[in-house]
């Protein structure tokens, strides 16, 4: 890595990030910073740019302008191989539809990133089974994920994200395809286990109830982070305390 190492209080940060797709701007100078161990929710209406911001923070998209920092290094200037390595070792992902391999079993899916990181087969499967157990679905380890319910599949996705002991989990509408009760369970598990492990979580959602699981909430509008609801919330509390 050639980028200079700079000490910053934030684990991950976007600074004035712009990104367009063709002629359509998705981000127009978005800035956000996430502290280590923090659970941040990014909210916003459809098309506001919130998912694009998450993809830029995770090094999946390269911004057209601005900077993305992770743990004191520039992420956006790394070459693709370095970013891929980082995504595989330091980041975990949970997407709306799980993005699991349906032909493989739940245990295979969770073990897969470990095997790609050269963890021995037996150790990888032992870890996978332990995580499936913690997520309350030990009996599904041998089931193909294509046969699981939406909630079970999403628990497998959470297990897969956590199994690598990542520094950051990026979750894009993690409960978007689930009913509210199942969504609650998935959010309880995701945030509970991440807090236990001290893992930073960046969560994109349009659902306030999901966002309320986070420590802090920011709003994205028209490609910019327009409001830090956490900061507003602190102002509201301070104002009430004075009364």
């Amino acid at each position: 890595m050639n980028s200079p190492v700079v000490t910053r209080p934030f684990l991950i940060e976007a600074r004035d990030v712009a990104k367009s797709f063709g002629q359509t701007p998705a981000l127009r100078g978005a800035s956000v910073a996430v502290s280590p161990g923090e659970i941040l929710a990014i909210m916003g209406p459809s098309g506001s740019g919130k998912s694009t911001l998450l993809h830029c923070l995770a090094g999946i998209f390269t911004p057209d302008r601005g900077e993305v920092w992770f743990d004191g290094q520039r992420l956006d200037t790394l070459d693709e191989a370095e970013r891929t390595r980082l995504r595989r070792t330091a980041f975990g992902f949970v997407f709306q539809f799980g993005q699991l391999v349906p032909e493989l079993t739940a245990a295979d899916n969770v073990a897969l990133p470990l095997l790609l990181n050269r963890v021995r087969r037996r150790a990888a499967y032992k870890t996978a089974e332990a995580w499936l157990d913690r997520l309350g679905i030990p009996d599904k380890a041998a089931n193909r994920t294509g046969e699981l319910s939406g909630g079970e599949a999403q628990r497998v996705a959470v297990a897969r994200a956590l199994a690598m002991a990542p520094r950051v989990i990026f979750a894009d509408e993690p409960t978007g395809s689930l009913d509210s009760l199942t969504g609650e369970k998935v959010m309880d598990l995701l945030t509970g286990l991440a807090r236990e492990a001290g893992t930073t979580v960046v969560l994109v959602t349009h659902d306030a109830r999901v966002a309320a699981y986070a420590d802090r909430v920011v709003m994205v509008r028209d490609g910019m982070v327009s409001v830090d609801l956490g900061a507003i919330s602190e102002q509201v509390s301070a104002a009430k305390a004075v009364k």
């Binding site: 209406p45 309320a212 409001v227 609801l229």
Partner: protein, 177 residues
């Protein structure tokens, strides 16, 4: 719904007679429950006593009171403080939220910022309820769920209204005299 604050807000727009205030209140905030004339004048009397409005000289004409009322600086400060203060997040807030948003738009004040404050207050309350759900028994969980679903409905309304502020501003300001 706070009648005194709503009338103060309407007076901040322009000095008005009690009759005009009643008409505007019924048009925007009454929704099937009209404000009695008696309540309009008794409220104006109390606001005048408290130094929040001043009544002009009585004008000739019919009716119980032909005074034109104007808001004072103290009244203006009270409206500003009320608009800026998010409502305690409880179920069934729509009417008061609607009144705040409508008045903010009439007065050219930052309605979007007020809605953001309200959104923050709601999410903060949701965080407390989720904590209660996590640590409580089934009864706590079900009560928290009930409150959460109501807050969720409010938030949907806040989101929708945020997206339609420009349209709503056009509607509430079209009758501007």
């Amino acid at each position: 719904m706070s009648v005194p604050l709503t009338l103060l807000g309407l007076l901040e727009r322009e000095p008005s007679h009690g009759y005009d205030l009643k008409r505007d209140y019924d048009t925007y905030f009454g929704r099937g429950k009209q404000l009695p004339f008696g309540q309009v004048y008794s409220t104006l009397g109390r606001l005048a006593r408290d130094g929040k409005v001043v009544g002009g000289e009585a004008e000739p004409g019919e009716g119980p009171d032909r005074k034109r009322y104007s808001i004072t600086d103290a009244g203006r400060a009270e409206v500003d403080a009320w608009l800026a203060d998010p409502v305690e997040p409880e179920p069934h807030l729509q009417t008061i939220l609607f009144a705040k948003v409508t008045l903010a738009l009439m007065l050219g004040k930052p309605a979007a910022a007020y809605l953001d404050k309200q959104r923050a207050a709601h999410i903060r309350r949701m965080q407390e309820l989720i904590e209660l759900r996590r640590n409580g028994g089934l009864v706590d969980m079900l009560l928290a769920d009930h409150a959460l679903f109501h807050l969720e409905a409010d938030l949907r309304w806040i989101d929708l209204t945020s997206a339609r502020l420009a349209e709503l501003a056009a509607v509430v300001n079209q009758g501007e005299r």
